[in-house]
Amino acid sequence: MKLRNAFPLLVFVLVALLSVSLAAAQDIPEGIDAAWWSNAAQPYAGTTLRGVSESTPPSNYVRDVLAPMFTAMTGINVELETTSWDQMYDKAIRDMEAGTGIYDFVYIEQDIIYGYLANNYLVNLTEALADMPELAAPGFSFDDFTTFIDYFKDAEGNVFGIPMEAFIKVYLYRTDLFNDPDIAAAFEAEYGYPLAPATTHEQYRQIAEFFTQYAAANGMQMWGTTVQAVSGHPASFYEFFESVVPTFGVYNWGINMENWKATVENGGAMNSDAAKAALEWWVGNLTFAPPEATSSTWDEVAASFAAGRAAQGLVYGENAAWIATDPTRSQVVGSVGVALPPLAEGVLEAAEAGEGYIGYYDGGAFGLPVSSRNMEAALLWLQFVGLPEIQADWAAAASRIVMDSTYDTPQVMAADEATNGYYTLMREQGYLFAGAPPFPFHPQLREVVAPFIYEAIAGTLSPAEALDRAAAAADAELARLGYGS
């Protein structure tokens, strides 16, 4: 018992020491041709590149470690404005729309790329590098990336963003509870099958119920499951449409991609029986969730789990590493297991056949706005962020992986062990997950549909009624936006 707890701690300390020493010394990792970089950057030395990103662990690593490293090598300064999730979009969009040129690089979350492409906000990186071969860095290749880079390509295969983070939303559970023989026996006695990470929604619900009652009986501040159900913030919309509804076999938010319709009458599936069952199940889970669930965005869900207040839950993978390893933030270090989310019948087969997906593959890239005033220098910077040599420490510090080669580095293998296989799961079964559907109107539609989900959470609308009205509102909004009218 003791040893098992100590091991991840040791790994964490090692990894932390390693990254701290790297950050402090700002050594340029082996394999990078520093001479080429300083030479190529010579005409641009002294310029300052400005970018905007959400303040997440991967972005903070860029700001604190990669930017100084790049500056030391090239003399080009990099300033990264890390702001809130909402603000980031507003600011980037306003800048690019007005063509102001405030930002030389912007964070592009995978779900907004289609809107940016439709509006021609971004520089075609493939073309730019072909046109300016003197700026094409040795050691940088679009082919190094995982298939996640495909989300940032247009129909012809041109790349518009350099992936900088990617992770999947996984099913986390508490190994210390699930592996406890007494608990397992009690569970089996009550439900008639052995306690294990749920594979169906019914099992998931029963496990949640069991642990909620177990915690209440033992005076623990713990509940059966997390729910990312903040009622009023889009985080709840996202958990439902990107992580829950697909496990019931409804994809692309229930929008029919042929005619851009949401209602069942018009060929959509947003208010289909499966979607309604999904919302019913998801909202029903709140009974077995900690009281903060209805105030929880992605961060708070991770915090609840890290505080030991939930036995299982769907958690964004960017948090998996620190929950499992960082004792200054987490009380469940060493007792975190990962698994695929519970699924309805046939969904796994459909996903394996490439006809669906079982959850959310999240991530983002850095792109170069057309309005940038320092395009050449920014192009160098983006390639630097995409060098294989800098990936491993970044992955260990912020649990994000954008290149296959990163999986085999010692840093990531250590982290994989500490998280009981999160990285292995992502590597081997990541293909079952998918990013947001290719909507050029992503936030527009979300804002119209989300309030109905909020109302379902608050209980002012029944799940069925909420989805019926949401689908009707979606149809109206899409027609207004000129899609499939």
Binding site: S55, Q87, T100, T328
Partner: protein, 286 residues
Amino acid sequence: MRRTRQIIDYALTYGLWIVVAAITLLPVWWMIVVSARSRVELFNAPDLIIRSFYVQNYTDVINNRTFQGYMINSIIISTANAVLVTVLALMATYALSRYKLVGSDNIFFTTLTQRMAPPAAFLLPLFLLFTQLFAVGEGRSRWDLYDSHLGLILLYCVFNLPFAIWLLKGIIDAIPPELDEAAFVDGANTFHVITRIILPLAAPGLAVTLILSWIFAWNEYLFAATLTAFEARTITTGLAEFVTVTGTNWGAMAAVSTLTLIPSVIVVIFAQRYIIAGLTFGAVKD
């Protein structure tokens, strides 16, 4: 009999004000309690006593260069704005009070409407205005109001000036115009009259204007968040970043919030007298 009544009266007043003070202070105190907690202690049961102080929440913030910059920006912007508003409001109010200007009543109400508009829709035109219209130069040497101290200083005038004029109107109206007439007869010009006669007499009102404008500028969030990026970000935007961004790092957020509070508390303690004196809005004259 009379004495007992007085004692009861006293007791009631004290009781009332102790309750009011407790209600006022407890939320603030709780914030300080949270600011003393580390991340793993957050979910501990509510406890109003601070048993251990996690200083790192504060030191992390204070030693953070970005945060120091935010603090300096906030000080520059709110001070410059408060001074500008007070000077302009004094001039404007004197004009409104002493001259018969066509449509001056409407001017007054129109200036007030600026404060009534829902802020969100005005962010877009202001952004365009700041980046496209109020811009000089081209390319790298281009300068515009966006992300500049001046931009926010001017913008806050829109909110502070109407309020300031309103506040000062009654005070300047109450200064007998015979005083300026006498000075004019003695050969003084308008500048002299305003600085030598009106200014000293309206000093308490001007102090309030200065303080209230300063506080508004210090506290404003939405416009500062939208119209700045790197150079002119203020402390409130920093606070919002701490909340939305680090999500669950409530301790650090509470620490930032507490730090933001300190200048305001100093202002309250030292300027209390003026604030009360100035809040008459000219509605009561004697």
